[in-house]
Amino acid sequence: MRRVEAIHPGRGNYFRDLARIHGTPVLLVDSQKIRHQYLALKAALPGVKLYYAIKALPHRQVISVLAGLGAGFEIASSGELELLRQVRINPRSTIHTHPIKRDRDIRQALRFGCTTFVIDNTEELLKFIPYKHRIGLMLRLSFRSDDAVVDLSRKFGCPPEDAPELIRLAARLGIHIKGLSFHVGSQCRTPDMHVHAVNVCNQIIRQTHDLGAAPMSLLDIGGGFPVGYDRQVPSIETFTAPITQTLKQLPLHVTVAAEPGRFLVAPAGTALVSVIGKAWREGRFWYYLDDGIYGLFSGQVFDHARYPLAVFSATGRRYPGVLAGPTCDSIDVIAENVMLPELHIGDIVLGRQMGAYTIASATGFNSLPPAKVVILDGWRPDETRLAPARTMPAKPRPA
């Protein structure tokens, strides 16, 4: 059964104040936590250039914070590219990694100044013939993982055994494959698949050294670095230690990149939603919240996440309850069969670890407005005084 933490109401003043100021539903994003996560991952993957996967939380201030630390940016659509343009990101520190692109996506990225792209099949390779003098390609390999929560090698990726042929074809066409990339999945439980993938890539880079127009000099190890939702995950240094060891086997001319999204922003996000309705049905309290799986909790559907939840209550007694979202749809339920202290209309329910793939995949169903996103500079729930907060639109402007 899903656990809901009961926090002493005295410690809820900080959140109640924020909820009062900004309204609910609201996603609070702690920029200091993002900095901390970035620096932790940098330290755990020495020498690896980090490209933030902005799809996780495509927010201008988040991008600015990471740009300030020297991060690069991973984009997968022309809309994401426009967001980077608005934040004035140097296009040289961006990579376009969607394996499937329309010609106009390629042209828009080139106009922006992004010249690194990803392919995983012949059709996609041929799309780059007109631009072959301007671009550098990464070939994405697939490594199927039974281990990851989200398997990213099913839909995309070239089987490693087919790679040499594709590299030879590219060489014949005069198209430069400058490196390899892979995504073993999201929320990996162990680094075993990363290690395996790096080893295979290392072999391919060495075997094809003399095939292409130039040796491959880039390896992009994707993401998959886990954060804790409903279970403990290893510390990032523990997780990456075997990967770092394996990366040392690569030829010296190869630089390594990674595309973290979730790891950088998930722990920085806290959602505040309010109880807007309450009913006793069939022996359980049903609590209706002002956001649900069509909004901030969309990651429970699309991202298979179960966010740690908390309420503010002093009473020890717990009753069976259901936390439901505000839409008319009966699947809009955040948590069923949970034991909760009795809540009242206006009470706050808090969701932790909600920075990644939450607001990013929220829908506008029922014409409910999206939750507001508030970037905080520092997280001070133990203080009675609020940290200075600035507000920004919840979603980027459409291009």
């Binding site: 042209r107 922006f112 100044g113 010249t115 690194t116 631009y131 301007r134």
Partner: protein, 288 residues
């Protein structure tokens, strides 16, 4: 101190020291910047790609304009597509026998910015009484107009960007219909060593439309990667077969002053390297 790194190519590129940022316009659709650099003077870049600089623009604009005008010999009506910086216009205006210049630029903002920040490019030519300035898409203009011209010049951006339609078959065909007998089209066609496909694609289109076509070249320092090429398309094969003496006579007669263009360069510019001839499907430079 800031630096500007051109993002034209993934594995190669030029970089400038930005001694002073003079103008920046960053919209959702394009990024225009003008800065001062010690070696090249004022430099304008669009979407991360160098468009023109004060120091080396004369090479490009003199070759773009004087080769077709001198070759034509008696051009009275000239159409310029693009060229918002005004430098192609400035060079055309040097020719006294030209009595009508139509310039079609899609973005009036570019003209305003260039008149202010690159005043030497137009050097007052926007005030020339022979000029009719049209703010319109170049393809739309040549498709709709009834006017005909002795010389059409396209001074465009690269095919990736706002200039895309000026490299298409529809545009080349419409220009063909706008040329007077003995007329010629001259186009900006990129740095062929780096962008061979650009010239090759234009060659395929010229082949089906014009009786006589070729390319001619010049080396412009900030269009990096070797020579750049200009497209040449006409129904009059004699225009690119003038003798050195005839070109020299016309040059003297025109009275124009140039810093790059000479009659010898005019003739020599049509001699293309072998790899380019192969890309455009020609066996030789001579009578092909």
């Amino acid at each position: 101190m800031n630096r500007f790194a051109e993002t034209l190519y993934d594995s190669y590129g030029q970089e400038f020291r930005v001694d002073e940022l003079l103008y920046e316009d960053k919209t959702d659709h394009q990024h225009l910047v003008i800065f001062h650099n010690a070696a090249f003077g004022r430099v304008m870049a669009l979407d991360g790609v160098i468009q023109t600089t004060e120091k080396d623009e004369f090479i490009y604009h003199e070759m773009l304009v004087h080769v077709p005008l001198i070759a034509h010999g008696g051009a009275g009506r000239v159409l310029i597509i693009g060229g918002g910086d005004g430098a192609a216009l400035r060079e055309v205006a040097k020719h006294r026998q030209v009595d009508e210049i139509v310039m079609v630029e899609i973005d009036s903002g570019v003209i305003d910015v260039c008149r202010k920040y690159l005043p030497g490019h137009s050097a007052g030519a926007f005030d020339d009484p022979r000029l009719e300035l049209v703010i319109e898409d170049g393809l739309e203009y040549v498709t709709r107009t009834d006017a005909k011209f002795d010389v059409i010049i396209t001074d465009s951006t690269d095919p990736i960007g706002p200039g895309e339609s000026l490299f298409g078959e529809r545009f080349y065909r419409a220009c063909h219909g706008r040329l007077l007998p003995g007329g010629v089209l001259a186009t900006q066609n990129g740095v062929c060593f780096m962008q061979l496909e650009e010239a090759a694609a234009t060659a395929r289109r010229f082949r089906s439309i014009y009786t006589d076509w070729h390319f001619y070249s010049a080396a412009v320092p900030t269009y990096v990667g070797g020579i750049m090429v200009f497209g040449w398309a006409s129904d009059d094969p004699q225009l690119r077969r003038l003798t050195r003496a005839e070109i020299g006579r016309r040059y003297l007669q025109s009275g124009i002053e140039t810093r790059y263009y000479t009659p010898e360069i005019h003739r020599a510019a049509f001699a293309l390297p072998r790899y380019l001839l192969e890309a455009i499907g020609k066996a030789c430079n001579a009578a092909c």
